[in-house]
């Protein structure tokens, strides 16, 4: 139980981001940042060999910036979800004595917190990926459509990641 407590304490604490979460965030943001790479490589013929450094650095930058967006939205979502849920846990068994009831309640609360946290993470990743991809397309095809290809890629992807993170700082999700 002590081990379990340690594992979930990070999820409970609002301001601490666990390493596990960081890894989940980074894997997802990296995949999202790879989607524009495919667009520019396969459709706009921006070759890997010539622009490997550009691709690598922009993807890494976007992935890191997106992790902040994920975490910001995650915190708001989890707060809102848990606010409506915490009072739903009612101990229903009358046979068990007081100590057992407390234990059961605590265990249930833990599992509820984990589920809430997973749901918030999934919602956050979904929302941010959608915003990132749509804003990337808007930047590259509408706003910077006359900019040369390489600069178009750098500016569109970086600004889309920045814009997504900027939007994530709002508390209205």
């Amino acid at each position: 139980m002590v081990e379990l407590d340690d594992e979930f304490s990070a999820f409970r604490n609002e301001n601490i981001v666990s390493n596990e979460q960081r890894v989940v965030y980074f894997i997802n943001s990296f995949i999202a940042a790879l989607v524009p790479v495919y667009l520019y490589h396969a459709i706009f013929s921006m070759s890997f060999d010539s622009y490997m450094i550009v691709y690598g650095s922009v993807t890494l930058f976007a992935a890191i910036v997106l992790t902040f967006a994920y975490n910001n939205v995650y915190r708001v979502k989890r707060l809102k979800l848990s606010a409506t849920r915490e009072h739903m846990l009612i101990p229903k068994t009358k046979q068990t004595n007081g100590l057992d009831r407390k234990k059961v309640l605590a265990a249930k609360r833990e599992s509820q917190a984990v589920v809430t946290s997973h749901e918030a993470t999934a919602l956050s990743i979904m929302y941010n990926n959608a915003v990132f991809l749509v804003s990337m397309l808007a930047f590259s095809f509408i706003i910077f459509k006359n900019v040369p290809l390489v600069y178009n890629y750098i500016v569109s992807v970086s600004l889309a990641a920045g814009f997504t993170t900027f939007l994530s700082t709002s508390s209205k999700h």
Binding site: L34, V35, I43, R85, M88, A122, L133
Partner: protein
């Protein structure tokens, strides 16, 4: 009307009669399609007579496309005509297939003709054409002209997948859990 004016008008008339009484040829080496390796490329040689008299003994011979870099398909790059009536044109076609990508220089093909029937001296005009021709490789051509349907489909799929994957996780919790507590079946 003064004597000088009459004389100058007469002079202009004489000069214009002498000038118009000859054939004037324009020669054009025409490449309409963009050259691509392995694709047939039609080349047209067009001669227009814009003068007032017919031209005689027209003859040209172009050697730009008879090298080993081009495969001959049909037609001819040389032409010979007895005469060409004023305000009319003749043309000669050749179809070739470029074998290698790159830039090829085009020469100004020389057309010899007699500007009137009694003329002994051969007149010369050169073909108006581009000074060079860029032959595109097949890969570049495909890349430039393809609609990238497959690539766009994959891009849309990747985009959707990056949104659908977290959505599926959220949907799983939505279906199996209520308020974060596993539903009892």
């Amino acid at each position: 009307m003064s004597y000088k004016t009459v004389f100058s008008l007469f002079l202009i008339l004489c000069v214009s009669i002498a000038y118009c009484g000859k054939a004037e040829l324009l020669f054009h080496k025409k490449i309409v399609d963009s050259p691509v390796v392995g694709k047939e490329l039609p080349v047209q040689f067009v001669i227009y007579n814009v003068g007032s008299e017919p031209a005689y003994e027209l003859e040209f011979d172009d050697k730009d496309f008879l090298t080993s870099d081009f495969e001959f398909v049909s037609g001819s790059s040389a032409g010979k005509w007895e005469s060409l009536a004023p305000q009319s044109h003749v043309s000669q076609n050749i179809t070739i297939i470029p074998k290698k990508a790159g830039i090829y220089t085009l020469t100004s093909t020389v057309l010899n003709y007699l500007s009137s029937q009694h003329e002994k001296e051969v007149s010369i005009t050169t073909a108006a054409s581009y000074s060079g021709m860029y032959v595109e490789s097949l890969q570049d051509y495909d890349k430039r002209t393809s609609l990238h349907v497959k690539e766009w489909t994959l891009f849309v799929l990747f985009s959707l997948a990056s949104v659908a994957f977290p959505f599926s996780i959220w949907a799983y919790y939505k279906v199996n859990y209520e308020h974060g507590i596993k539903k009892e079946k």
